[in-house]
């Protein structure tokens, strides 16, 4: 500005440098809190699902046996399942992500419509830090986990309720477990198909190019 000529030149030639950073620049996607919440929740979920399978699938039950021990591990891993998320609430970054997951904007409707049409073009899938599918998944899995926890507790402490409830509660627990298994398999399958998304959860950073393609509305 002090030397007008150079200011004009600066504007024309220098700003692209600022605007287009090197393609390989990493963007911060998850802090330590989010990654640890995810890691511990995943570990507990894995334990819960594995012990459930050992209690439920006859072939696995025959292989593993030890029914009393498996029941105890299942009960406690299930009971502890919400703890990582609750502990994560202490982190501002984690709370901010929960806020993002909670809020659905008009672009999420566009994303969902494209998903239903199996339209995979990035241009028809606008997304912020989380796309609409991830938001749906997060909200549903949180609710379903709480239902599993509630029904599980009633199966565990049968004297808490009129005892005739147990059959009903077992019914919900069993069928929701099956549904959860399928949805979790979908979650894991999608992660397996997207190495960069996994890297984001593992290291905390993703390539800028990936972020701009998959989450164009996200402002890291």
């Amino acid at each position: 500005m002090s030397t007008p000529g150079s200011a004009a030149r600066t504007d024309a030639t220098m700003s692209p440098r600022t605007d287009t950073p090197p393609a390989a620049t990493a963007v911060r996607r998850f802090g330590r809190a989010q990654r640890w919440v995810h890691r511990t929740t995943a570990a507990l979920t894995g334990l819960c699902v594995f012990t459930a399978a050992c209690l439920y699938v006859p072939q696995l039950a025959q292989l593993v046996g030890r029914r009393g021990l498996v029941v105890t591990v299942h009960e406690w891993s299930g009971l502890l399942l919400p703890v990582p998320v609750l502990a994560g609430l202490a982190s501002r970054a984690f709370r901010a992500d929960l806020g993002r997951l909670n809020r659905f904007g008009p672009h999420d409707r566009t994303w969902l419509r494209a998903a239903l049409r199996r339209d995979k073009r990035p241009s028809s899938r606008p997304a912020g830090k989380f796309n609409a599918g991830q938001k749906l998944y997060a909200a549903w899995i949180a609710g379903a986990t709480l239902v599993m926890l509630g029904t599980g507790l009633l199966m565990w402490f049968t004297h808490l309720t009129p005892l005739v409830w147990r059959t009903s509660v077992t019914f919900v627990h069993d069928w929701l477990a099956l549904t959860l298994g399928i949805v979790l398999a979908g979650h894991i399958g999608m992660a397996l198909a997207d190495p960069e998304a996994r890297r984001g959860m593992r290291t905390g950073s993703v390539r800028r190019e990936w972020a701009e393609r998959e989450h164009p509305l996200w402002r890291p």
């Binding site: 605007d19 439920y56 046996g65 904007g105 909200a139 609710g143 239902v147 049968t158 005892l163 402002r219």
Partner: protein, 292 residues
Amino acid sequence: MLRKSDGHPRSLARPGRGCSNEGVNSEQPPQGRDLRNGPSRRNEPGERNGRDGPDGEDGRGRPVGRRILLGTLGLGALGVVTAPTLQRGLESFLAGASDKDPTGLTGLLPNGGGFRYYSVTSSVPRKNAETYRLTVDGLVDRPASYTLAELRSLPQTRTVRDVQCVTGWRVPDTAFEGVRLSRLLDAAGVRPTAGAVRFTCFDGAYSESLTLDQARRADVLVALRMRDEDLGHAHGGPARLYVAPMYFYKSAKWLSGITVTEDVEPGYWEERGYDVDAWVGRSNGRDDEPTD
């Protein structure tokens, strides 16, 4: 907004540093591509811009996530309330489906019919016709030890009843065949002071017990066959207890010992909260149909 997120608002006020790129860019209103790649994007790695980023779309909107969560909880509660109706419908549907299912996968579905394997130990030794023994002792005049062949040579009784597990699954019309327990007790000569029978198993951990009156019922067997086949290892073979009118945990698998005692000693699951008198539909807080 940009100025705030730029992080160096003061530099703008200093004309002497006009060549600073940051200053130049920050003063200009963002346009076109700048929206996506503006300086704020690089300079603010924190989470602060999540809700109020340059275009403000991410993190704004209606709280649909919370509604989905609460809706899922509500559906769960509704499921519990309507479970009896739903369960009846599903059971009849699945019973029909499993008849036409060559894969057997429907057997894995909840309430899909079929037995579930429960063992309280990590592994159960296998016993065959040579190695299997069933002992009868305790308050009896003539303690005995039976081989499988000896048990098979005794008169056999066959019953066809439903099997009801206390965890909810039920297998309709299951044939069991074996020696009446009362026959073994009579052969051993139960003493007058006796009041109960305790059962032990060669898995090394499981135990069960019945009062003497219950043990003498005609529908209590030492079962050697199930579904008209010799009892396999997974189902408690070569011999198991079969207590037809009670929940299936009373029907101890891998039966190896019958001990007549004075009083009822609670078995493995009974020490963990299950009822000793486990009549189907009248115990453990359940209201299943009786198994006849």
